[in-house]
Amino acid sequence: MNSTSKYHAIKVDPAKCFGCTHCMKVCPTEAIRIRNGLAVINDQRCVDCGNCMRVCPADAFYILQDDLSRIYDFKYRVVLFPSVMIGQFPDHISEGQIYQALLQLGFTHVFEVEQPIQWLIEAIREYHRDHTDHRPLISSFCPAIVRLIQIKYPSLIDHIVLVKAPHDLAAHFAIEKLKQQGAREEEIGIFYVAPCSAKIVAVRRPLGEKESIVNGVINMNELYNRVMKVVSKEEPADNPACREHLTREGILWCLPRGEARLFKKRSMAIDGIHNVVKMLEKLEIDDVPEIDFLELRSCDQSCAGGILLSGNRFLTVERLQRRSRHYPLAAENSPEQEIKEKVVGRLAADPIAPAQVFRLDADLARAIEKMDKVNRIICQLPAIDCGACGAPNCHALAEDMVMGMAKMSDCIYLQQRWQKEGKITSNRAFSNLEKTWGEGRFEADCNKKGARNEGF
């Protein structure tokens, strides 16, 4: 079992971050604070959803993950990419041209992730049949959601389907296939192309898995740019091996209702992490009708809206839907039995342990004391939720105070009141403000970053 990982894919570039409140305000777990003019991410609370990156007007968040240079450590270099990658390319670039470009970039084998999806469908259905205690079952596909449940909705952990993700399926399958062709396992390098920060973390530090089967992770937007650079105008000879077992269900898997549509009984699909939060809140108080299966995805339009995708999410969905119509159904494309046993046996995930990252104290008496203090501090705060203290709202500031991470003087309104009452000097108040926002932050400057709503 893993506890909350401290590894995160999203980093802040201090040269670009100018300290505004956009990221802090959208973070679904209130993981961001502004300190000394920079966004600081609490790694216990971060679920890697990427919302901070999406709203940043200064492009200050980045994902440091590129194992492309490591592919030559292996004789067999497999690029595993989710089919959503194909969806983001403009219509005139065919899948054949994309496969060709990937080979040109140094890979020896190109392999789409969602195959043979029938095995995963069967594994999930079996899990559903064997685990009747908890309904609805919640898909474990989106790692941001699994982590969100782990830290914020621990009572729902038992609802999570403990079956691994398509990239695990494809990795095991690709390895077995190559071994059949005479490759030794240590000669095979599996490189997964991630559509988002959460998948990167899931591969690097998996929950519910001891060790990831994948050797390296590549940013999808980085690879997209490289493919666009080398893609040939000619249509190459078809290379059907890349998608031998790709099916309609496989292509649609990462789109909204991709999993939910496979449940003949009552199922629901929700995308967008703030929508998911609303449903989890309801689920926690049993205020949900009888539903068998819940597909919950952090990004709007599921993986088509992944933070590392380049295309417009709606166009991506449309292209994938069109593509899927040319492919057979999963039940009609389930490959040889011998490999199946080996792969399916590895699809079960380990249980996930809850992580109490929001508790005020492990000792109940002390926690009650702190909560009481929070309630008393709240009376002093203005309830404007302006974020000028460097916390996302007044309540979060009060909590930070009792946890020893903030001071009363961080509230600019309180400071104002104290100045009026003659309790502090205006010089003191101003230097307090600079502690949060950085020295010189309030000088007049027409070229100040963010001042003209850049990025909107």
């Binding site: 914020k152 621990p154 009572s155 809140e281 926690e284 108080i285 049993d286 205020d287 809850p354 109490q356 929001f358 508790r359 005020l360 104290d361 492990a362 109940l364 008496a365 926690a367 009650i368 004391e369 909560m371 009481d372 309630n375 909590e399």
Partner: protein, 138 residues
């Protein structure tokens, strides 16, 4: 030392039914109460909150959390319950057609509260209002 929380509930305002229970849930999580206990507490409180919204004109929820237990006291001004014993039966409901159409009022409220609380005391003055006291031990 105890944490005291107070919430006002407006009769007929179904879109906000559940707000108080959500707040209490958040507090209990921060106090690191066992998730299974939180679930029972919040289900009971939510049912009781919906009862106030469905049957009363207005109400107040007073919650006290100490080291041993949570005490939830709901006091409302409204129709009251003429026969509490009857109201405790599963499926018994006096909810109006409108309330039922909104998915409430199936007659499972009070029995569900009883299942999810350790102590339940209901006193009611027909025509005046109802007081529900629920206690759950940690």
């Amino acid at each position: 030392m105890a944490v005291e929380l107070t919430y006002q509930v407006k009769g007929g305002d179904f879109s906000h039914a559940g707000d108080a229970s959500s707040q209490v849930k958040k507090v209990l999580k921060q106090l690191d109460i066992d998730p299974k206990k939180i679930k029972s507490i919040v289900i009971a409180l939510y049912e009781a909150e919906v009862n106030v919204v469905a049957h009363a004109l207005e109400g107040v929820i007073r919650v006290t959390v100490d080291e041993e237990k949570i005490t939830m006291l709901l006091t409302d001004r409204g129709a009251g319950i003429p026969d509490i014993e009857l109201a405790m039966r599963e499926g018994y409901s006096t909810a109006s057609k409108e309330v039922r159409e909104m998915g409430f009022g199936a007659g499972m409220g009070l029995p569900n509260i009883k299942r999810n609380t350790d102590l339940l005391e209901i006193t009611s003055e027909p025509g005046q209002g109802t007081t529900v006291k629920m206690v759950n031990f940690f």
